[in-house]
Structure formats: C-alpha cells, structure tokens
C-alpha cells in the first residue's frame, strides 16, 4: 500500500482547510482523506488527481455538513452529561432577550415631539408657578407653540383621554408593555380616542395650554410600574 509523504499530507491538510476551514473532525477527516487518496493512487492515479477525486467525492458541502453535525452532536451530549451545562446557553438566551428588549418599541425612549424644544421645568422638586410652594413636579414641561404635533413615545394603547380644565387640561395617557405608561397634558386637541392602538412616533395630539398652565407647553410624564420617573432619562436612547 502506498503511503503519502509529509509534504503531500500537508497539501491535503491545506486543501481540506480551504474547503471547510478549521473543522472539529480535524485529524480524523485528514486521515480519512489521506486513506482515500492512497487508495486512488494504488489504482494508478497521480497524487494530484487522486487528491482532487478524494475531495470532490466527499464534496465540499458534505465536509462542512459533517463537521457541523458532529459539533452539534458533541455539544448536545456534553450538555446532557452535566445538567448545569444547560445554564450557560439559557443565560446567553436571557441576555440576548434583555439586549433585544432594550431596543424594543414598547419603551418610551424617544422625545414626544419631532420639533426642537426647550425644557422649561424639569422633573423633581420645584416652586409651583401658581402658589409658589415647593412641590414635586411629576413630569417635565416642554415649551411648544400651541398646535405642535405630539407623538407617542412608544408602541401602546390609548388608556385615557381626559379634559380637566383646572389641572392637566386635555390629557392623553398611553399604556405600553413592560409596565410603562406615558402622559401628555395641557393639549389643545387629542387626535386619538380611548383603546386606539398607537405606534411609536404616531401623531396623538396637538399641544396647547388647556389646563392649569401659564403658557403653551407640553407636560409629559413617564410612569414605570406605577411610579413617576424622570422622562428625560429616556430621551437619549433613541430619537
């Protein structure tokens, strides 16, 4: 029986690598191919021809497929052997889920208007503009000329449309997934009605000064699991 030289084996190795890169079958695939080449050479073929026959008989796709399949089998049994082994992939999936969710459309991570604006009153303690007492400001006030288009900051559903002239004025509340709600107040006109579903960026109202307000502005709140949070914290994440 013929035996390949070291140089020839190197050639075979390179040819396999060219076909399917670094394979898990490694030496096994190399030995198999070398055996096949030796057998073809025994039939009287030259090394070059024998090598090309051996590789094309196996087939490029087949080589890749075998490697992949063997890899999958190995991984499966490895995990099966040690029950804790499942934790890594589960954690990886969990992490992926979290990452995907950060970019999800149900978080209010954009500004409530496409117009440039100035924040006239931020979230937190402030002096009430009417009675001058220090109170908690539950949202932010954005200076917007009356009639400015106000858009939903996340996908969701219209929960409330209220007119409260002594307080929030015309107000729209949206309910989103993951415990989020957003409130848009002091509007001049609501463009949606209760239980409409809305897409992020969709027009929902026009701004105004319809309640307890000193000048046209949008009062915007973000509620997470029932708790008011600072809306500006969510602004930078997306437009």
């Amino acid at each position: 029986m013929r035996e390949l030289t070291e140089t020839q084996i190197k050639n075979v190795e390179q040819a396999i690598a060219a076909q399917c890169g670094n394979t898990i079958l490694g030496n096994e695939l190399l030995d198999h191919t070398c055996c096949a080449i030796e057998a073809y050479m025994e039939e009287g073929h030259s090394f070059d021809l024998a090598m090309s026959i051996a590789i094309s008989t196996f087939g490029t796709n087949e080589m890749k497929k075998v490697s992949k399949q063997v890899k999958r089998t190995r991984r499966y049994y490895q995990l099966k052997k040690q029950p804790l082994g499942w934790i890594t992939p589960i954690m990886a999936i969990g992490l992926l889920f979290i990452v995907v969710n950060v970019g999800a459309k149900d978080r209010p991570d954009r500004k409530p208007t496409d117009q440039d604006f100035r924040v006239s009153s931020a979230f937190g303690q402030r002096k009430d503009p009417f009675d001058k007492k220090t109170k908690m400001h539950l949202g932010i006030d954005i200076v917007t000329p009356t009639g400015t288009a106000i858009v939903a900051t996340a996908d969701g559903m219209v929960e409330k449309v209220i007119n409260d002239p002594d307080g929030y004025g015309i107000m729209v509340t949206l309910k989103h997934d993951e415990g989020y709600q957003t409130v848009y107040a002091q509007l001049s006109e609501a463009k949606v009605k209760v239980s409409d579903s809305v897409k992020k960026g969709q027009l929902i109202a026009l701004s105004g000064s319809s309640g307890r307000s000193t000048a046209p502005h949008l009062h915007y709140e973000v509620i997470h699991n029932g708790k008011r949070v600072d809306p500006s914290r969510y602004f930078g994440e997306a437009k």
Binding site: E3, L4, T5, E6, I9, L25, N27, E28, L29, L30, D31, H32, C34, C35, A36, A39, F58, E62, M63, K65, V66, Q69, V70, T73, R74, Y76, Y77, Q78
Partner: protein
C-alpha cells in the same frame, strides 16, 4: 445502492456489528469493510458515518483511541461493555425485523 432512508435506520447496527467483529477500527476502514462485505451494495458516506460514530461515542457505546501512525494521526473506535450489550440487543431486534419483513413480503410461504 440502497436508499438513504433504508440505510439510516441500519447504520448504527452495521457499525456496532463491524466493531464487535473486528475490535478496533477507524472511519475509512469501516467504509471500506462495508463496501467489501456487501460487494459495493452498501456504501457508507462519510456524511453519515462520522456523525454516527461521534454520537455513539457520546452515548458511551464506543471508546476512541488516537494513535500516531507515523506521519499522521488515526482515531480508532471500539466497543465499550455498554456497547457490547447494545450491539447484541440491536442485532437481535434487527434479525427479528428482517423475519417480520419477510413474513410481510411473502405471506404465502409456510
């Protein structure tokens, strides 16, 4: 050559049986042995053989031995005690299957 579907269910039995008869064998040797013994009627493709070998190994039916044969490395497979038991039961099942099939195909004999 028989159809892939037909071979799929018998591949493990063939491999186990060959190893039971020959002790340790390597991949290429198995393909050649099958070809020789069946006069070319059954030709195992590498694509079917290697995943099957690795699966049997992972299941604990085969052990491997990696040997330096001079200029390259060869991986030999052989049966574990668990593999011996499995081979016997697989062969028994298969012979019974064949006689059932015969019965099904030639119901008039007997």
């Amino acid at each position: 050559m028989y159809s892939k579907e037909l071979l799929k269910g018998t591949l493990q039995t063939i491999v186990l049986k060959l190893l039971a008869e020959n002790g340790r064998m390597y991949g290429y040797e198995i393909t050649q042995k099958v070809k020789e013994q069946t006069e070319g009627k059954i030709q195992l493709t590498e694509g079917a053989l290697y995943p099957a070998l690795h699966k049997l190994e992972a299941e604990g039916l085969l052990v491997t031995e990696t040997v330096n044969i001079g200029k390259r490395i060869r991986k030999y497979y052989s049966l574990t005690p668990k593999g011996d038991v499995q081979t016997a039961s697989k062969l028994e099942e298969f012979s019974s299957f064949i006689s059932t099939m015969q019965f099904l195909l030639n119901p008039k004999t007997s």
